[in-house]
Amino acid sequence: MTVDNARTLRTPLARVRGLGSAHHGAGAWWTMRLTSLALVPLGAWFVVSVISLAGAPLSEVRAWLGSPIQATLLLLTLAVTFHHSHHGVQEIVEDYIHVKGVKMAVLIASGFVHVLLAALSLFSVLKIAFGG
């Protein structure tokens, strides 16, 4: 692939090193706003629900988690929350960690942990919802 160096301010060396914009910035920014917006009602619903379950025995909690509307809303809340959390951690890491290797390691670990926690919680809700 040839690149017209007259049309860019970046040097060939900078391009080879992979520095500069990856052009994902606007997408990441929009994702953060969209998940924030969704989490305003979902988060408020979740807290009100948890309050209504304060001190409830396991049977009652499982019955609540098993109802289609609650289970669906909770699955959505969990998915959006972990997505938002993953992006939030990434923003913080990119702001404060500037050693490339460490930054990459933390970002990869954060991604793995977020996917693991999301899978655990989503599966748990589905298991209860499907009567397991």
Binding site: R33, S36, L37, L39, V40, G43, A44, V47, I51, S52, L53, A54, G55, L58, V61, R62, L65, L78, T81, F82, S85, G88, V89, I92, L117, L120, S121, F123, S124, V125, K127, I128, G132
Partner: protein, 140 residues
């Protein structure tokens, strides 16, 4: 200070440039405190997700696991964590709405920023107290 500056040494090796504010002695203005608090509460809520995952996994696992979870949440440390989580949650949600309004181009001037900051602080306190009053009423 202008008088003393004349007698202080100058020349090579003596750095006389003004220093940027050091965080240890610089009192953050309210708007800066609101900003860093948003990040701190966000990071706390990331950790708080572990509690959420524990709750769901325990409920799906069985009575023994759920008793262990309930035992922790009902303990003094558990309640303290839960209280911190609730305050962080309401702050992050309410201040998040404040950020979304800015993103939509509204309330960016200094006076509005201060008004919304006080609004978020008061609403956070109100929602946290309300949540616990409601929770304790349901519990007992």
């Amino acid at each position: 200070m202008t008088g003393t500056s004349k007698v202080q040494p100058t020349g090579p090796g003596v750095d006389r440039r003004p220093l940027s504010p050091h965080l240890s002695i610089y009192r953050l203005p309210l708007l800066a405190l609101m900003s860093i608090s948003h990040r701190i509460t966000g990071a706390s809520l990331v950790a708080g997700q572990l509690l959420l995952v524990w709750w769901l996994v325990a409920a799906a696992t069985g009575a023994g696991a759920y008793d262990t979870f309930s035992g922790f949440v009902g303990s003094p440390i558990g309640l303290l964590v839960l209280f911190g989580w609730s305050a962080a949650f309401w702050y992050h949600l309410l201040n998040g709405v404040r950020h979304l309004m800015w993103d939509a181009g509204s309330g960016i001037d200094l006076q509005s920023a201060y008004s919304s900051a006080y609004g978020v602080i008061i609403a956070t306190a109100a929602m946290t107290v309300l949540s616990w009053v409601a929770g304790l009423v349901v519990w007992f």
